[in-house]
């Protein structure tokens, strides 16, 4: 388990000193994919570099499986780094070496026998689907394959945890998709714990179990990805969710929408239904029971890892009291409901 406690890091720039990481508390459980979400300069890379002992922190502590990773002498730092696999934002392959030799480089200082080394490299290449590229040179590979080599290099030492910097920022959609599939496979089949930095909510949505959102070095929100999707608390989280889903209200509706309730208005709701709540037709029940009419304005299904969220925007017409009771009824049964506004 990786845990960060009250981690702070001060960076000195020519404009003076500022906090690159502010009071970060984080726990990554074994076997999960943990996402670090943040814009450029939010501190994602710095966070990973601190965990990987490439940079020191100023206060707080970082522990991996109950051994500290901070304030270590150089010798111990090297050992600590070997227990982790790091995938940098660029593939960083050596052009004078074949794929096989590039991967083998990570075993160079380990003192393994040649035969053991060969076994490990072949295994790592198989995990990343590169078995038939072993003798190629990096130049001959696509970007996606290059990243796979960089992955194999990080995995070959059988690390406890794999840190992965924002690799998808250089990739097109198809390459990203392929790499994310690889992430899930490595996690599900080989049980690697992965910490993944990215600035795309799409990436988080597809692979991560949990996520922490960084903003200017501060952790503004963290938790289960589905939870953050269903009800983001901070503006920054809301922005991200909006960017990754089609939760936008239709323009025509937005113009009609009023923020104040009067006697003649009806509420417009956003209803979010997850897997569990979706097993029985609660909405239909509520509409019948409270004698309402429901006008669905927009609806779609959002896939978050294995969870499906049904999201819809709907107008509820009926008696005021009944509407209130219906909302209460539905909330009781696990639906997330938000009143967006009122229409005549």
């Amino acid at each position: 388990m990786l845990s960060l406690e009250a981690v702070e890091k001060i960076v000195h720039t020519h404009q003076g000193r500022h906090l690159a990481l502010k009071n970060i508390h984080l726990e990554v459980e074994p076997g999960e994919i943990y996402g670090i979400l943040g814009k450029k300069g939010a501190g994602k890379t710095t966070l990973l570099r601190c965990v990987h002992c490439l940079e020191s922190i100023d206060t707080g502590s970082i522990m991996l499986d109950n051994s500290p990773l901070t304030h270590l002498p150089e010798k111990t730092q090297i050992l600590a780094r070997r227990a982790q696999g790091m995938v940098f934002a660029e593939p960083l392959l050596l052009s004078s070496r074949t794929v096989y030799q590039n991967v083998e480089l990570a075993l160079e200082n380990m003192g393994d026998k040649k035969k053991d080394r060969q076994e490990k490299v072949v295994e790592a290449l198989q995990m990343t689907g590169l078995q038939d590229k072993a003798l190629c040179y990096p130049k001959e590979l696509t970007l996606g394959q290059q990243y796979r080599v960089s992955f194999a290099r990080a995995l070959v030492n059988q690390p406890n945890i794999v840190l992965c910097d924002d690799i998808t920022k250089n990739c097109d959609a198809r390459t990203t998709h392929g790499l994310l599939k690889l992430f899930r496979e490595l996690n599900e089949r080989y049980h690697f714990t992965i910490v993944l930095a990215t600035d795309a909510m799409e990436v988080i949505k597809m692979v991560c179990h949990r996520v922490a959102i960084l903003h200017q070095g501060e952790m503004v929100e963290h938790g289960e990805v589905s939870g953050i999707f269903a009800h983001p608390k901070t503006d920054i989280a809301k922005e991200y969710v909006k960017s990754a889903t089609r939760l936008e209200m239709p323009n025509a509706l937005r113009r009609r929408l009023k923020s104040q309730e009067t006697d003649h208005t009806y509420p417009v709701l956003r209803l979010i239904v997850d897997n569990n709540a979706g097993q029985e037709p609660f909405i239909a029940h509520a509409v019948q029971q409270f004698e309402l009419t429901m006008n669905i304005l927009q609806a779609h299904l959002e896939a978050i890892r294995d969870l499906h969220l049904g999201i819809m925007i709907a107008e509820l017409r009926g008696k005021k009291n009944n509407i209130q009771s219906a909302i209460a009824y539905l909330e009781e049964r696990g639906l997330h409901i938000e009143v967006l506004g009122y229409v005549l």
């Binding site: 990987h52 490439l54 780094r81 050596l94 052009s95 004078s96 160079e108 200082n109 040179y137 130049k139």
Partner: protein
């Protein structure tokens, strides 16, 4: 004439190749040393680096002719005279070691900055990383530069003839310049041209083999 030419060719080849090997043997370690030293944060090492860097830069820009004249007192102490093959070899080597080291340092510096993090991530010390990885990585850049240096050496060795070092340069001075025997001039010029082409092509072949 044939034997004269052959003898001169032999002398030139000896001078150029010996100086060329010295350039490799001293230039590469010195270039690596400069590169490694440039990262060192200790004040004392920084001072050494500044000094070596300045010397390298000055020596790289000094014309060969001026270098020999500057070195004459030293050559007289070491070899008794500046007009010998061994003193020519020393001046030739000194003329190419510094620019070649500077090329090595430049090539190492031009590698992606991310490699430094990668090296640390994989548990390499800086020295080991340069020896095992970076050096091989910069070879495709370094080898053509080395060919350039060898061709420079050919040119310098002809100038060395002026100072009495013999070789093709010496022949050219003695027969071509002083007696104006046109056949010698043509023959030496052709030979020098041929040699530089052989060097260029062989290195080109070698680099092509290296970069896949």
């Amino acid at each position: 004439m044939f034997y004269e030419m052959l003898h001169a060719l032999e002398e030139t080849l000896f001078m150029v190749l010996t100086a060329g090997i010295l350039t490799l043997l001293i230039g590469i370690p010195f270039g690596i040393y400069l590169y490694l030293l440039s990262f060192d944060q200790k004040l004392w090492h920084k001072t050494i680096y500044r000094m070596l860097f300045t010397v390298t830069n000055l020596a790289s820009t000094l014309p060969y002719f001026v270098l020999v004249i500057l070195l004459i007192p030293l050559l007289r102490i070491l070899f008794g005279t500046e007009a010998s093959v061994s003193s020519a070899i020393l001046t030739l080597a000194l003329a190419t070691i510094f620019p070649f080291s500077a090329e090595i340092q430049r090539a190492l510096n031009a590698l992606p900055i991310g490699y430094n993090d990668l090296a640390r991530s994989l548990g390499f010390s800086r020295v080991r990383w340069v020896m095992k990885v970076s050096l091989k990585e910069v070879m495709p850049v370094i080898l053509p530069r080395y060919a350039q240096q060898l061709n420079q050496l050919m040119g310098y060795s002809v100038i060395a003839g002026v100072f009495g070092a013999g070789g093709l340069g010496g022949l050219l001075i003695a027969k071509g310049y002083q007696n104006f025997e046109i056949s010698y001039v043509v023959a030496t010029v052709l030979l020098v041209f041929l040699l530089t082409q052989v060097i260029r092509l062989s290195v080109q072949y070698f680099t092509h083999d290296q970069s896949h």
